[in-house]
């Protein structure tokens, strides 16, 4: 395969949501001594961009969107370690610590956000559901994350978003992190009221908000 064909195959693997194929193509590049960065930029990223277009036009639904995000993630997992340190950092949009707040076991929305964030170049530390405030903070401190993302489906657990912001302030580390909030009961007004840095009405909006927070778009 010439490079153009290879890049097209990579793009197609992401569009098709074919995780095995995407990872296989990524491994082939490394085996041939190819440039991982070129593969990412010319092969895989055009794929996830195309998926975004298909979603916006109403052709793709959540199962397709998630499968593509998974394929992207699989390819990145192969290629990222092969990048030179500086280039890996340049390519990463940053680390996001993500979870659903304590008392809340609902994590479908959060999982969508996690998948789309990693597909778009963020490194996601997914803490799962029913996560204590303390755990969000310790995970952020340990991983050197730039963003903390808080999901909540219930009005009662939504209050935990405010508590996390207060806790960050009381420890004097509020400025270290951008805090992104979301979930069914969360509104722009609530996000503003509690002083969050960003708010996503849905998973794609959350990705846009995260990009805006890191100054990448």
């Amino acid at each position: 395969m010439d490079m153009t064909t290879t890049f097209q195959a990579m793009t197609q693997a992401v569009v098709d949501g074919d995780r095995d194929k995407a990872a296989g193509l990524a491994r082939d590049v490394l085996a041939r001594g190819g440039d991982p960065q070129e593969a990412i930029e010319n092969g895989f990223i055009p794929g996830i961009q195309k998926v975004g277009v298909l979603w916006e036009s109403g052709e793709y639904f959540l199962p397709e969107l998630l499968a593509s995000a998974e394929a992207m993630k699989a390819a990145m997992a192969v290629l990222r370690p092969a990048l030179e340190t500086g280039r890996a950092a340049a390519l990463s949009l940053g680390k996001v610590v993500l979870g659903t707040i304590e008392g809340d076991i609902h994590d479908i929305g959060k999982n969508l956000v996690a998948a789309l964030l990693s597909a778009n170049g963020f490194e996601v530390v997914d803490l799962g559901a029913d996560v204590k405030i303390e755990r969000f903070i310790s995970a952020a401190e340990e991983s050197g994350a730039a963003i903390i993302g808080l999901s909540a489906l219930l009005t009662t657990t939504m209050l935990g978003q405010r508590r996390l912001l207060e806790e960050l302030k009381s420890r004097g580390i509020r400025e270290k992190y951008k805090v992104l909030v979301g979930g069914a009961p969360v509104t722009r007004k609530w996000a503003d009221d509690i002083g969050a840095d960003g708010y996503g009405e849905n998973a794609l909006a959350a990705v846009q908000a995260a990009k805006a927070l890191t100054g990448r778009r």
Partner: protein, 486 residues
Amino acid sequence: MIPAIRPKVELLSPALIDQIVGEAYLILEREGVLFENAEARALFRAAGASVDEAAQRVRIGRRLVEESLLQTPASVVLYDRQGEKSFHVGGDDVHFDPGSAGTRIVDLRTNRERPPVTNDLVTQARLTDALPNFHFQSTSLVSSDVPPIIGDSYRVYIALLHSAKPIVTGTFRVEGFGPMRDMLAAVRGGEDELRRKPLAIFDACPSPPLKWSHLTSQSLIDSARAGIPSELISMGMTGASSPATIAGTLVQHVVENLAGLVLCQLAAPGAPVIFGGSPSSFDMRKGTTPMGAVETMMIDMAYAQIGKALHLPTHAYMALSDAKTADAQAGYESGIGAVLAALAGVNVVSGPGMLNYESAVSFEKLVIDDEICGMAYRLIDGIAGREIPLAEHLFRDFKPDTQFLTLPHTRKWYKLEHRLSTLPDRDTYDAWVAAGAKNIAGKASDRVREILDKTPVRSPEPALAEELRRIILDDARRNGVAALPV
């Protein structure tokens, strides 16, 4: 007289039921179900189930499930607060009650959602008490003006103070069970009396897929031991937290509910259990869980049919809508749901009054839904040959000017055959305009005010009210809550 047949709709063939239940047995035995609760696992272990402590996984053999099913009563009888009026929950009986645990309310004045306060819970209980087609009340709202820690017990307190109907409720915390049971027992004058005459159903939801949390397992154990019926609320979302196909989701539903049922029987053999649920179709665009989708209703009808095949009382969340106000979508989704639930013979149908994916209550919708439920009850009463001859005698000596309004036959039967509806618009056009040209929501809003103005509260005896107050104040104090709104 020729009696009516009970109109019924079934969606599953016997072969499909066998396949669904058969696969459920396989999963229970091979893959098992996760139980976070140590006491639950101990009960399973003592009964000979294979328990993996580290993974919190319990594998349940077919024999244990079948024995548990044999121990579970085929019906439950609930009694109102006075212990007089009884409600048989089983067979093809249908009882509508409002949906549960809303965290939002659609404000009557602004028509926008806001957090509910205690006064809204009082209104909800009073309306439910007055509206004739709700056989039970539900703790439909969670007060935002009391600390969440006592949110579960406080709503039962408000319910008992403002309505005499049996209650569908549930715990938010393990410690909530004690005060809730104590209040119910206080009404009956003791725990044995409560066991003999259940006043409430406790809902407990597994976490899909295939997990019972610490809290919900404890609710099953505690309720079983107190003789309080548990309603098992499995809630897969097709393609998100359960298989995408309806039949596939039904397999998971049966696994989760049967695992819960076995736990109830291990905690107290013969414990009353209701085979319920709140599954839903999953919107693959919005990532939401439409309760008004026809597929959601189909899943409900189908697991109810399976519950009946297992000789269990049944429950479903139907007659509710995802609309945000009491509009046409609210009407058609709730109306179709109520009628299908009734035709499926779901014993406890929770949902009226609810909007926005089971999260918000509208008082207007509650009033409209009461009318819908009345229609559904009438439908399943069917058509009887009231007397023989049916009509032949009315036509003897038939004349061109015969009219039926004045016949004794008409006066004898019209009220039994026909519901007299006053809420839907049945005016002539001119009369409708003259009366203010109101739509159904406007008329329902008037009805809400009329009920609140004119219907006296059915309060408990002062001594009982005082006892209930003592229990809730104790609970509040234990949890560091200094004052309560009511």
